[in-house]
Amino acid sequence: MMEVCPPPIIAGQRENPVAQKRILLLSVVPPNSRYTGGIMLHSMCQSLNADNLSCFSVLNPRMKAEMHPDFEGIAYKAVRRPREANVRHLPGRLGSLECFFKETYIANVTIPKLAQQVREFAGQTKPDLIFCTLEGQTMIRLADQIQKTLPLLMVTQVWDPPEWWLRSNSVDGWSRSSILKTFSSVLKNSAAVAAASPAMAEAYSREHGARAIAVVPGLPRSWAKQSATRLNDGNNLVIGFGGQMYSKDEWDQLLATLDALDWKVEGRDVEIIMLGREFELEGFNKRNIRYLGWRDQIESIEILSQCDILYCPYFFDRELESTARLSFPSKLTTYLAAGRPVLLHGPEYSSPYRFLKENDAGMLCHGLSKSAIANALSRLVYDTDSYARLAGNGYRAFVENLTDEYMRLQFLKTLSMASDSRGSSK
């Protein structure tokens, strides 16, 4: 087993004066154990006093997000989120115009109504500050309205740059430009910003004048598996994949490579194990892929720890460059906790690539070609020293940067920064 560094000492989080503040969570999902955002929110909120919390969720009607039992007693209101994906019924520019009118209506009619509801809720719960997650155009616009009409400090959290969201929801160019301007203004007017990665914190401080700190999704240290020192015995090579499948091009290229290799790497038969929900299953039966469905995180880590390699694809598409640069895939945290080497398949400028490179904690594949993928897979099989080193460094990187303790510490730092900003403004 690898020698590991001691855990960071983070004690008395709830005794922190910031943790005693009355905080209104304004989010797309309440703290829960089902969705990535909700899990993260739940974990962060554990450092706060539940008696001082309230939550206003603007929920996607398709989501079945219930409040986590830990926070069942808090003041909670959930409202329906307006549809953010744009289905265009008209072709070309007319379709853009249709989308523009819809977005304009939401911005000028729906959002003010939502903002009024938030103000009324805040009037009842009397928070000291608002913690708002900026996911999607609704939350960006809502945060802007609240900042302008409520004399409260606001701390904002960004999981993904909005460019990605607006693109994947087919928002027209005029609305997109206006939303991005609003986003910039919200960041600037936030007392502090919890960014998804160090790269995002750096970029938003520089580009928007935000006071940003990286708050990367974390998991309990106790869930982590000791790092493996070698591949599993036997004649198989098991590649694990968990979480959302957003990097489809990269995934397809992995499958194409394995097809070209006849699903054999260095003499081992390759098998893929997939965990998660909502995969496109077409064609899977032709390949050596086992789909295990959604599992909770502890079970996911357990299953992934029994694989040989954990595959983490990230966007090469230049149109998604800002997302690749600034976001941080939460699956990477889970993978590193599983104690097996991560194969990061993404561009050199992407934030997970940089993180793993800095920590020498993953096999890095920065090409989309079959050769690049095959080289990386092969190396993890034949280069036993690298296998053990990367798994060990991955575990260390998890303990040092990606535990929930560390995340909560960063979260409290963000809240403290917001409180300080009030002090300094006075």
Partner: protein, 424 residues
């Protein structure tokens, strides 16, 4: 040493630092010489490198001029901003201006007479574009010796929609005729071209081969570097630059690898563009390093290589072959360019007939199967690099040229009653 102030002029700073004057600029500063660099587009963070102009208006003018040049089939003629360079503080403060790659779209050839009259000027030619009607390398075409026109290869870089090559040739002739500069070329091959060019009759010509940092580029632990780059154990490594540039011979490299008949497990290690050798997936291991930002990465690549393949069809010097030499790796090259001279073929470089991929494959197979030959060529290469391509000697020679040029212009200026240069 007498002190003088130099401004290096190029298209950009970081990318192609050896050819844009950035590396030379840094070496001059290390020698205690006041040097600055002025570039069209600054990408790096060096405090002594300046952008020629900045702002939105610059971009607008730039784009408009570039579009007009494309539409009218003209080159480096319509940007009005190059004339403004005379007012740049770094230009004004300098005793001598050293021009590098000024043909990449930002410059105006007609600014050259004025600028070279204002300041003593040195111009390094890294390729033959200055002597042709449009192309960077004329290959076997000889029309550049006769005034161009009726161009047989308008599509070659820098391409033209209409054949204005004769006009461009005449404009160059006029611009050079009214200018006063010293030319640097890096090889006898280029020297021969300049001497054969009717455009450069007035030019004062100096041959100064580029140098490399022989302490950085040197033989190293090949096995360790192979492991670092993920070369399969036991494989021999053929390194090459992968680019679709018509000058670098990509089709010949591909054809050579198709024809190569060897049982030796092989890794093709490429730098620059990715994915160009993917057809060999399954036959050879392909490692695409992509664009290498740092010298260290380049050195890793050379040191891990067993053979450097450089089938360029247009090469005015061949810096990469020199770097491979300095790292003690044998190179296989084509004749008909500067490469046989630069690599001292056949003493070190293995030169085959230009365009002959069979000969290339044969030479590659020969070296793959003969370890002692690879090693002895590598050793010779290192020795030759030490003898001929030291960076210190290169910088010494450039400084000596600056001194001569300034002395000459200084005495001319004194004779004309103008203020003398600091060296006069």
């Amino acid at each position: 040493m007498s002190q003088f102030r130099i401004v290096q002029v190029g298209a950009t700073d970081v990318e192609g630092a050896r050819f844009n004057g950035q590396e030379l600029h840094q070496k001059l500063i290390q020698r205690g010489i006041e040097s600055s660099q002025v570039v069209w587009r600054k990408r790096g963070t060096d405090d002594t490198t300046y952008e020629m102009f900045s702002g939105a208006l610059r971009s607008k003018i730039d784009q408009t001029a570039a579009k007009l040049e494309r539409d009218l089939s003209l080159q480096s003629l319509l940007s009005p901003l190059a004339f403004e360079f005379a007012k740049h503080p770094q230009f004004k403060a300098a005793d001598l201006a050293h021009y590098h790659l000024i043909h990449t779209g930002f410059f105006n050839l007609m600014a050259l007479p004025g600028l070279t009259q204002l300041k003593p000027s040195v111009w390094t030619l890294h390729d033959p574009w200055a002597m042709t009607g449009h192309c960077v390398h004329p290959f076997d075409c000889t029309r550049w010796k006769e005034g161009c026109g009726s161009c047989p290869s308008l599509d070659n870089e820098f391409s033209m929609k209409r054949d204005n090559t004769r006009l461009m040739w005449r404009i160059k002739q006029l611009a050079y005729c009214m200018s006063d500069f010293d030319l640097i070329v890096c090889s006898k091959w280029m020297e021969g071209m300049v001497k054969a060019s009717p455009l450069m009759k007035k030019a004062r010509l100096h041959r100064i081969p580029l140098g490399v940092d022989l302490n950085a580029f040197q033989p190293g632990d090949s096995q360790a570097k192979k492991q670092k780059l993920g070369v399969y154990p036991g494989n021999l490594v053929v390194a090459l630059r992968a680019t679709t540039s018509i000058y670098k011979g990509l089709p010949h490299a591909i054809e050579c690898l198709r024809k190569l008949d060897t049982k030796q497990p092989l890794t093709i290690l490429t730098f620059n563009q990715k994915g160009l050798f993917e057809e060999f997936f399954g036959k050879y291991q392909i490692i695409d390093l992509g664009w290498l930002e740092s010298t260290e990465e380049m050195i890793d690549a050379y040191q891990s290589a067993d053979i450097f393949l450089m089938p360029s069809e247009g090469e005015s010097f061949g810096m990469m072959a020199v770097e491979a030499m300095a790292c003690g790796k044998p190179s296989i090259i084509f004749d008909g360019t500067a490469l046989p001279e630069t690599t001292f073929a056949p003493e070190y470089g293995v030169s085959v007939r230009k365009g002959d991929s069979d000969a290339l494959a044969h030479a590659l197979k020969g070296l793959l199967e003969n370890e002692s030959k690879r090693l002895s060529l590598g050793e010779k290469g290192r020795k030759l690099a030490v003898q001929h391509y030291g960076e210190k000697e290169y910088v010494d020679r450039v400084i000596a040229l600056y001194t001569d040029v300034l002395a000459r212009r200084g005495s001319k200026a004194s004779a004309g009653g103008k203020s003398a240069s600091p060296l006069a």
